[in-house]
Amino acid sequence: MEFVIAPPRRWLSVDWRELWRYRDLFLVLAWRDVAVRYKQTALGIAWAVFQPFVTMIVFTLIFNRMANITSGDGTPYPIFLYLGLLFWQYYSGTLTNASNSMISNASLIQKVYFPRLIVPATAATTGLIDLAISAIILVGMMIYYGVMPQWVGVLILPALLGCAVLSALGMGLLMASLNIKYQDVRFALPFFIQSILYVTPVIYPVKMLDNHPVVKNLMLWLNPISGVITNARAGLLGQGTVDFGVLGISLLMSMVYFACGLYYFRSTERYFADIV
């Protein structure tokens, strides 16, 4: 095995073979994050369920009972909301964790070489585990409300998850690189995430914007999670039809976000150890 260490060139492609060689480290770091997160808690892994569940109850009381927002197609509001929240929490959690991942793993980055990409990718993976656990409640609610998913919905599920992972990780990579250089990110990010919640159809259906086509299209184009949530509701909750046009847009935009994030991350990562 021979390799050369030299000053970095501007354009760097991702060495997928090297990433594959480091898969064990990736798995171990992902396992560490999950193991450590719930280690000292009394509820343990139940926290993954507890958070979206309580949020669902609170939001249902406020937005459905008090503000009279409904799903718009006859789907019970709690399940409509909970499905949206699952994807939203995955997106916001991954974005937050990925952004902070380079800082919280600074001691590793300064002492050992490995493809830096592993660190934010770990954040995107552990989020999936939380998502899977909190999805148990969703299944319970589907049985309770007697909601049957369409087969199309189950089939497009991998594509929906793929969109969520790519868009969250893409934005996360960008934020992680910026976070190393600028402390501002740490303050701006929670505010930023909170703001996107309101421009994502989590607590309201996208149909509410039918009278504002420009806003609706901007939301579906710029924010892939909007399309993901809309199609997940159509496919999994039995009402409405899956919009493959919107699915295509979401996929395309997630890839664009991912490519941008990846490019920026790759072009700055070699100097992380000097700055962190």
């Binding site: 095995m1 021979e2 390799f3 050369v4 260490i5 030299a6 000053p7 970095p8 064990d24 480290l25 798995l27 171990v28 770091l29 560490r32 193991a35 450590v36 280690k39 000292q40 001691s107 590793l108 980055i109 300064q110 002492k111 050992v112 070489y113 490995f114 250089k181 600028y182 402390q183 501002d184 070699r270 100097y271 150890a273 000097d274 700055i275 962190v276």
Partner: protein, 440 residues
């Protein structure tokens, strides 16, 4: 002969002080800087001035055009003062940071050990941390599973495997961490100063393990302040000084050249810089001649006064401070503890800065170069050697053994304790078994 396993050619590393060294910029500052730069660029076009360096930044070359190569199976020591670029070199070799200029070719699987216990998580158990740390250092899960028992046995922590490491004593923690690292099987191993932790017995065990690694034909690059360790482990060494390669060659002569290098030698004053906090820290050591001058050079018949300043960080008991006089190849000649004479110090030492002196009598050390080493021990028999040795020299001036004029100072053992010698007297007339030479 095969090609070298590591070829380093013309490596330079520049840090931009003011930007890269200031860890956190705020976005506002950066935007302001960009705007300033843009406006000055505009101004430049108008006035045709040369391109200035962006505001307030200076370049610091941590490494400057360093080249060397290492053959397979060789152990190379890298020595030099703090800030000489040793650690930067190792970071570049480990791919943690890229070089600014130059090129390195590596022909083998590399593992770097820049710290003991990288990635250890306090909440996880010993068992879990072995897997975590192993993966961080580049082992596969299968590899760790295979060596697990061996690692645990080496660390001697069998009973605490399922205890979170935050409840480990610092000794146990270091043992477990080193045990994982010691079981790496790379073709090239990069090691930075990791032996500065742990007690003497464990350090010895680690050095032994690394020696075995070297004997198995693997290549080691070893950065250390500990000249004894470098000499024992490495055949060759390079000496870095202010980012440049000062000298390279066999480790004995390089270590000696480094230890006795010019200013180090004549001043007779040595300041210690400890990166880590210890209970007792050495601040300064001086060698003083009978005239009261601080110097590193002594007549053979002069007593040598060692003046040692240290800091005790809190009131403690059970600690002894040791001064060790060593030969130039770091073999100990003799040592003295302050508690040897002042036994009350064993009970209690008060916090604060202290100075103590000990005097080595004249007419004992032969002319030559010596090293003094400082250390501290506790009642559990744990002993810590400060890695910085400070040198001094004894000249032939005033040396009581006239014979050195004919035979040199080399023979006759490590010291020259004066013995009373009486003039020969005749025993019998015809006793001429020893044929002497007529002196003029």
């Amino acid at each position: 002969m095969s090609r070298p396993i590591i070829e380093v050619s013309g490596i330079s590393k520049c840090y931009r002080i003011g930007a890269a060294r200031e860890p956190y910029l705020s976005l506002r500052d950066e935007l302001a800087r960009k705007a300033r730069r843009a406006s000055s660029a505009l101004f430049r076009i108008v006035s045709k001035e040369p391109n200035p360096r962006p505001g307030g930044q200076t370049d610091f070359w941590a490494l400057n055009d360093v080249s060397f190569s290492v053959r397979e199976g060789e152990a190379l020591g890298i020595i030099g003062r703090n800030g000489a670029g040793k650690s930067t070199m190792l970071k570049i070799l480990s791919q943690i940071t890229p070089p600014t200029k130059g090129r390195i070719t590596m022909r083998g699987r590399v593992a770097s050990l820049l710290e003991v216990g990288t990635g250890f998580h306090p909440e996880l158990t010993g068992r879990e941390n072995v897997f975590l740390n192993g993966a961080v250092l580049g082992m596969t899960r299968a590899e760790i599973r295979r060596k697990f028992d061996e690692i645990v046995a080496f660390a001697e922590v069998e009973k605490f495997l399922d205890t979170p490491v935050k409840r480990y004593s610092s000794g146990m923690y270091v043992r477990l961490a080193f045990a994982v690292a010691a079981h790496l099987e790379p073709e090239i191993l990069l090691v930075d100063e990791v032996l500065a932790v742990g007690d003497a017995a464990f350090q010895k065990k680690c050095l032994g393990k690394m020696g075995n690694v070297a004997k198995e034909g693997r290549t080691i690059l070893f950065v250390s302040h500990n000249m004894g360790a470098v000499k024992r482990l490495c055949q060759r060494a390079i000496w870095l000084d202010r980012g440049e390669l000062k000298k390279s060659g066999d480790s004995d002569s390089i270590c000696e050249a480094y230890l006795f290098s010019g200013q180090n030698m004549k001043s007779g004053r040595h300041l210690f810089h400890d990166k880590k906090k210890h209970l007792v820290e050495y601040i300064k050591a001086e060698t003083v001649n009978p005239k009261g001058e601080t110097t590193g050079i002594f007549r053979a018949d002069e007593p040598i006064r060692f003046r040692i300043a240290y800091r005790v960080n809190r009131n403690i008991g059970g600690v002894t401070l040791v001064l060790n006089i060593c030969t130039s190849d770091t073999a100990s000649l003799w040592a003295v503890s302050d508690i040897d004479v002042f036994a009350d110090l064993i009970a209690r030492r008060e916090a604060g800065e202290w100075s103590y002196e000990c005097v080595a009598p004249g007419n004992v050390l032969k002319p030559g170069r010596y090293l003094a080493a400082l250390g501290a021990g506790n009642l559990n028999g744990e002993f810590y050697h400060h890695p910085d040795l400070f040198p001094f020299e004894v000249t032939t001036e005033g040396y009581w053994r006239e014979s050195h004029k004919y035979f040199g100072v080399g023979g006759g053992g490590p010291v020259a304790v004066p013995m009373r010698v009486e003039r020969p007297v005749p025993i019998g007339r015809n006793d001429d078994r020893i044929a002497g030479r007529d002196l003029p």
